[in-house]
Point group: C2
Chain length 252, copies 2
């Protein structure tokens, strides 16, 4: 029901390698995924099997020490959502005031649609439980934050699966975690990581909204790569690779 | 060179929907991705175009306010890697002592292979730069950690792209960030998030290593889903969905 593959995420031998076409499908998913804040199709419900596949994809993310520290709170209830929306409105107001010294940017910012809490089909709050299978979690002994990192990997799996299913996902982060904690009755040892709005969409934008409106440009790939150490933009042993990164830049 | 799709991640109209087969490819990638600590093919170099595609996939992750706060430090140099390995050995020793009260578990833990720093083809340190396009970053005004979350989404993209390319990735987190900071000359305002070891592998394991050896079981999907609020395992408006989650459980 979940997919042709074993529901536990085991892989058959044919899973060993990917054809060129299969690789292209993955890249297509990655490049066409968007953070969606509009274009939701009102009233179109996500079928149960689709939602289950998306959640199962999230559940098969890597996790530090196999701790699987995530939970997914599925929210349809409009009164709960309305409370979350109030938290957004309060936090949004605060954020607007941070641009009081830059009226032009403030106006642009204020004009942006930044959430679809009420009009999306469902909301999902993804949380991190630091006590799951603890306190000794393999790989979490030196860097405690790795538990949260696992939850983020799950969110990205969910996002890509949703994209392939034709479902838009918008991550609303202009919220107070204390509010989410109260509204959703989340205990103290559990931390809200993401508040996602999901639903079928009319279209996926060609480019990220903030790139399209010129808020920020996409950085060149070469500018986020370093060689051997921080800030080093070239290296003898990486010279061929540096060249193709440069070539890629000039042929964008 | 990067892929058939536009290198900027734009999507053509044919990108709008995915066939059943295409969806299966994404799920195959997600389910067969592994955290790899052995089976690296010694001496097999990752071709430049493959590495570029993997990094480009990472660079097309979602990021809060389109801030793209990541950097990728590519490391081939064996003397640098040896220093990172020393950090691992120190931190590993500390972690072993945390199990002094549970000798049986300690022995099992000590027997695990937890890194491939020296024998993998390359290492990649993925970092978070909190100053990138800041200080006002859309969506980061209420929850500062969302910047780090973006970097984790990039790591998951990288991981999935690598899997499709036949390349294993192992995330080594038994390290001191202070050591990484010194060894890789990472400035204070930049935070190491992940230290990854990449290379072609002989095989991808059928199951996660820690599941296979019985360290921890995979949780049932139904046990990480809540309805409307934390801890609620059923709900009237979710009754049909609850049923299929239960059905899925009994038919694993």
């Amino acid at each position: 029901m979940i997919s042709n593959s074993n529901s536990e995420g085991n892989c058959d031998t044919h899973y060993a390698s990917f054809s060129s076409n299969e690789k292209e499908v993955l890249y297509k998913t990655i490049f066409s995924r968007r953070d969606v804040r509009s274009h939701f199709i009102s009233g179109r419900v996500i079928p149960n099997d689709v939602l289950l596949r998306i959640l199962n994809a999230a559940h098969h993310a890597p996790s530090v020490g196999f701790s699987q520290p995530w939970n997914f709170i599925l929210i349809k209830d409009k009164s709960i959502r309305a409370q979350v929306k109030e938290s957004f409105l309060r936090e949004h107001k605060k954020s607007i005031s941070m641009l009081d010294d830059d009226i032009q940017r403030q106006e642009k910012y204020t004009s942006l649609k930044l959430e679809s809490i009420m009009e999306s089909s469902i909301n999902i709050c993804v949380t991190y439980d630091s006590t799951r299978f603890g306190p000794f979690v393999i790989g979490r002994t030196s860097i405690a934050e790795t538990g949260v990192y696992s939850v983020c990997c799950a969110i990205q799996n969910l996002w890509l699966a949703a994209r392939a299913e034709g479902i838009g996902v918008g991550w609303v982060s202009i919220l107070a975690n204390e509010d989410l904690q109260k509204i959703l009755l989340i205990p103290k040892h559990v931390k809200p990581i993401a508040y996602l709005c999901l639903g079928f969409v009319k279209e996926f934008a060609e480019k990220p909204d903030l790139e399209k409106i010129g808020w920020l440009p996409r950085m060149e790939l070469g500018n986020v790569i370093c060689y051997e150490q921080w800030g080093v933009s070239t290296s003898h042993s990486w010279s061929e690779f540096c060249n193709i990164v440069d070539y890629y830049k000039t042929n964008d």
